[in-house]
Assembly symmetry: C2
Homo-oligomer: 190 residues x 2
DNA sequence: CACGCATTATACCGACCGGTATATAGATTG
DNA sequence: CAATCTATATACCGGTCGGTATAATGCGTG
């Protein structure tokens, strides 16, 4: 593996385990077995390193989400697919999930949080869009699309955080997720 | 206001706005209009300062939660009361809510997250207990109390983060919260 | 070989980090 | 008045922070 990829992997791991602010570039470089100038040669700054991690991972996640939403099912089906796609991706990249969660809930004025904001906002808008395009099955939502999207994301995130932290076998994880989504939708449809 | 309280207030604000790791003790002291040794006189360390914030706020939140759970209603009623109590408290202490959320989702090896862990675990156990004591109305939960508690917390947190960030009027906030809890319970009971 | 380019290391920068030794001021108490 | 205790500031500690100037390495190409 070349130094660039090693640096990305080490940084992702360290950021996910201790937090962006608590990890120094020195330590990242040492863990990757290179020196600081090498890190700065590839990424320009600590922030640039975080951006590179987000960009590379997001490209894959975005493609998976687009795939999951490509079908023509109803809202419930689409949300189940979306949740499944996210669960699959994050199960493969647990460290990235931890990192993303910590950035999602980081204070808004935090530098790392601001770096991640565009990506997280994009994700949020994707979920809102699913609810937006669902007025025929959900009826008039009276502008509650945002609330639905927010709480949906909240449920999924919390469940994934729970299930990825312990070592739940994949099939149990999936059935649990399906149940969580089903429960959530029952509430919405009522 | 005495210097101790000023320091607590300034630290809570700064931690909530930029994150524990991103704020230096120097800046906290300057914002409070005192010098570093004064900070260290009262709190011993940066971590001690965070602990003091958590301890003082938690005493109030804990009392409110105990109050809310003192009644003898069914699960739905108890959860609504619990959610209402939390919403009320966090509406009065928005900065603290932001801080707590950032700590809840901070990586586990982060020092600040470890400091907050006992408090957050206590909160989690309180919610689990509500579900534990509800087998007569929810039937056999087959060990899903934890999943219920987790996703319940996820929904509430996400909704409060949403509603406290914008400036939603209190009555609308409450009715929205009631609806979110109702939606959630519909899913559980089905 | 000689040139240029991509990559990496040595050694360093000023600023800030969390934390402290020491002294001083003011109130309290014997 | 002297002794003590609380609360505060000045000035400093070694270490680490993010970042960089400079040079050397290796390597493909003319």
């Amino acid at each position: 593996m070349d130094n660039r990829q090693t640096l990305l992997a080490c940084a992702e791991d360290l950021f996910a385990r201790r937090g962006y602010d608590a990890v120094g570039v020195q330590e990242i470089a040492e863990t990757a077995g290179v020196t600081k100038p090498t890190l700065y040669y590839y990424f320009g700054s600590k922030k640039g390193l975080l951006e590179a991690i987000l960009k590379e991972r997001w490209a894959v996640l975005d493609a998976r989400m687009a795939d999951a939403l490509a079908g023509t099912g109803d809202v419930a089906c689409r949300l189940r697919q979306l949740a499944g796609a996210c669960a699959g991706f994050f199960a493969e990249h647990r460290q990235f999930h931890l990192l993303l969660m910590s950035l999602l809930y980081s204070p808004r004025e935090n530098e790392a949080a601001q770096t991640a904001r565009p990506y997280l906002d994009g994700f949020y808008r994707s979920v809102v869009a699913v609810f937006e395009n669902a007025h025929e099955s959900l009826g008039n939502m009276r502008g509650r699309q945002e609330q639905f999207a927010l709480t949906f994301i909240g449920v999924i995130n919390q469940y994934l955080t729970f299930v990825l932290h312990r070592d739940i076998p994949p099939e149990q994880e999936r059935s649990g997720l399906d149940e969580v989504v089903r429960q959530y939708l029952y509430g919405i449809f009522s």
